[in-house]
């Protein structure tokens, strides 16, 4: 499991490099963020939530059941939207209202 960053979308704001609790992200020569140590990702998704353009994709490695789906987040006023994208570009969204407590 790890993340990847779509460099075409990345605006170089550095929010993700600053928040990553493992110091795993860095900026490349073009001023775009990338993950320098992909195997050290904890999967906390802090970077996804910091990214203002949804450029960061979280995925599972095949060692823990991953089949190339990825997820990115988008914040609306009330909700954190999780966009799950399949390899053939199908998309499912689960929207979690940030003011709702968990039922479980």
């Amino acid at each position: 499991m790890s993340i990847s960053i779509n460099s075409e979308q990345c605006r170089g704001c550095r929010n993700c490099t600053e928040v990553c609790p493992g110091h795993l992200l860095a900026m490349d020569a073009e001023g775009k963020a990338f993950i320098k140590y992909p195997k050290d990702c904890w999967g906390c998704t802090a970077c996804l939530k910091e990214c203002p353009v949804g450029a960061i994709r979280y995925f599972l490695g095949p060692d823990i059941g991953g089949k190339a789906m990825y997820v990115y987040t988008n914040k609306t006023n009330a909700c954190l939207e999780w966009h799950f994208v399949t390899p053939n570009a199908g998309e499912k969204i689960i929207s979690v209202n940030r003011s709702d407590a968990n039922k479980y």
């Binding site: 499991m1 904890w42 599972l60």
Partner: protein
């Protein structure tokens, strides 16, 4: 405390372009680690005084520590019908008597108050029609904790005289005449060694992950339960400085969803899913107890007896329940929801396979950590401990860590009153800076930190009761582990690094090796089996209350770990 530069293979032959330089800072109270406990300590100090605080945080307090991904319940709360006294009793039962009732009680008295404070900070709670928190089990209330860490960090940021040093790795205390008077660390964004002087120091660095070979040792090696960036620095600094530590043999091993290592309590308690084996038998009924370690042990046992894999029986839950589980996991462990969606088999159609994790050392769940008094002072004058790094008080969870942070803050405020700042001599500072710079120089080693880390985890797995051996060990195996770890430490001390990221990794592996040695010494010292899996001593497989209702404590003196046994019934204060 500081290894001489010689021991680190210092050589003038290899230059390094970016020399570290020292920068001295002063404050009243230094808080090491800006996680759950550390942030709450800072908040408490700012609300009650004008004291000057520095939080030194290895990452960024916005999402550092265990709560980076969020948390979906507060598991330490006094629900209606329960009392602080009943909470102490519950913790005592679960920990088979090896707890400090004074610590657990002072925590339990304040759990609900800090929970309400979290609500004031903006954490949503699930409530009934009358506005009371809805409970999940006897000791837990339901929240949406996805954003809990940013909320705590935001509360700290504008308050009082708090300076936050993000991305600074503290690696040793400054000790003068036996008193902790500050700490030293290096920055990760600049070549600066911070020498921080304080009238009191609160250690809140968290526990230790990554000691044992993890469940997913390949690409997803960091898909573990406990934060992999909590590398036991606070323990290791204390051990090196001669602090007394307690209960490192009481390891914590979590029962988790297979592969994603996501929590199981949300499913087990949320949709009332029982644990079943491959034959569909609810096996917990066949075991004597259903405490936290026994639920894990029963699962390990079922697998050993050829009745695995084991599951949480979720098949048949409603579509609405399934969606609510998806959301609950997104708020704390998104890998689980991703896996369900990715594989097209949600919990309503497929039971959730469960497994035990590798062992962790974590004082918020079990009792491992600094031996502290009721005010949260460690045995080193000037040093307090709070949260996962503090021992003797299992089942703190989030709220307990907040309370402990608060108690430590109040004690630090009282203690600093009659203290003056002390400082290091110039040559002492030069020595520290040289030690850091020397890590960049010297003979190239054929090994890398990553290799040493993998070997350490393999040794711990095979010889000190990891997953491979069903968590059991023998004293003979521990002896092998001790020797192998000493060899690995020598190899690690000879490593050279290329950049600050590698420097951090080097210090982390040295800390982990130090913590592992103490874990081994404690495992060998307890000549009984007190908790199945957490501490399964195959040479002494039975629980022995007549001789072992004792805390196993230790102190490192002249490089040797000395075991100290303390009766649980005796006085707690030191």
């Amino acid at each position: 405390m500081f290894k001489s530069s010689k021991e680190f293979g210092y050589s003038e032959e290899f230059g390094y372009s970016e020399e570290f330089k020292a920068q001295e800072l002063e404050c009243d109270i230094l808080i090491i680690g800006g996680g759950t406990a550390g942030c709450f300590s800072a908040l408490t100090i700012a609300e009650q005084s004008k004291a000057k605080v520095i939080i030194a945080e290895k990452a960024n307090i916005k999402r550092s520590g265990c709560l980076a991904a969020g948390v979906n319940a507060l598991n330490a709360y006094i629900t209606p019908g329960e009392t602080p006294e009943s909470y102490v009793e519950y913790v005592k039962q679960d920990a088979e008597g090896i707890v400090r009732p004074d610590l657990v009680y002072s925590m339990a008295q304040n759990l609900n108050r800090v929970a309400h404070k979290l609500e004031d900070l903006g954490v949503p709670f699930l409530k009934d029609a009358d506005g009371n928190y809805l409970s999940r089990g006897k000791h837990s209330v339901k929240i949406n904790g996805e954003n809990i860490k940013p909320l705590l960090a935001a509360a700290v940021a504008p308050k009082g005289d708090i300076r936050i040093l993000n991305r600074v790795n503290i690696f040793d205390y400054i000790v003068k005449a036996g008193r902790v008077v500050g700490a030293v660390g290096f920055a990760l964004d600049a070549s600066i060694v911070y020498v921080i002087y304080a009238k009191a120091v609160i250690c809140a660095t968290g526990g230790a992950a990554g000691l044992y070979k993890p469940n997913n040792p390949g690409f997803s090696r960091h898909k573990m339960w406990y934060c992999p960036f909590n590398t036991g620095a606070g323990y290791a600094m204390g051990i090196r400085a001669g602090a007394e530590m307690t209960s490192f043999e009481m390891r914590f091993i979590a029962l988790r969803c297979k592969d994603t290592i996501a929590p199981t309590g949300t499913i087990a308690q949320g949709v009332k899913a029982p644990q079943i084996n491959a034959d569909g038998v609810k096996y917990m009924n066949n075991y004597a107890k259903a405490t936290t370690p026994h639920r894990l042990h029963a699962t390990v046992r079922e697998n050993q007896l050829g009745r695995g894999p084991c599951y949480l029986q979720t098949k048949g839950i409603t579509a609405e329940q399934e969606v609510d589980l998806y959301k609950a996991y997104l708020n704390m462990a998104p890998a689980q929801t991703l896996r369900w969606l990715e594989r097209g088999t949600g919990p309503s159609t497929q039971n959730v396979e469960i497994e035990g994790t590798e062992p962790y050392i974590v004082g918020g769940h079990t009792g491992s950590g600094y031996w502290i008094d009721a005010q949260r002072f460690t045995t080193l004058p000037g040093l307090l401990a709070a949260g996962d790094v503090a021992g003797g008080s299992p089942k703190k969870y989030v709220t307990g860590c907040l309370v402990e942070g608060e108690i430590a803050a109040k004690s630090a405020l009282a203690a600093m009153q009659d203290q003056a700042l002390q400082s290091l001599q110039e040559d002492e500072i030069t020595q520290i800076v040289r030690r850091i710079n020397s890590c960049f120089r010297g003979q190239a080693s054929p090994y890398m930190v990553e290799v040493i880390e993998g070997e350490m985890q393999k040794v711990m797995d095979e010889y000190a009761g990891g997953i491979a051996s069903g968590y059991a060990f023998t004293v003979a195996k521990l002896k092998i582990a001790k020797t192998r770890l000493s060899e690995l430490e020598q190899l690690a001390l000879a490593l050279t690094v290329k950049d600050r990221h590698e420097l951090l990794a080097l210090f982390e592996i040295l800390d982990r090796l130090q913590v592992c040695q103490v874990v081994i010494a404690h495992l060998a010292a307890r000549r009984e089996t007190r908790w199945p899996c957490y501490q399964s001593n195959s040479d002494y497989p039975a629980k022995d209350d007549a001789h072992w209702l004792k805390y196993v404590n230790s102190r490192q003196v002249n490089g040797q770990i000395q075991i100290i046994l303390r009766d649980v019934e005796k006085e707690y204060e030191h």
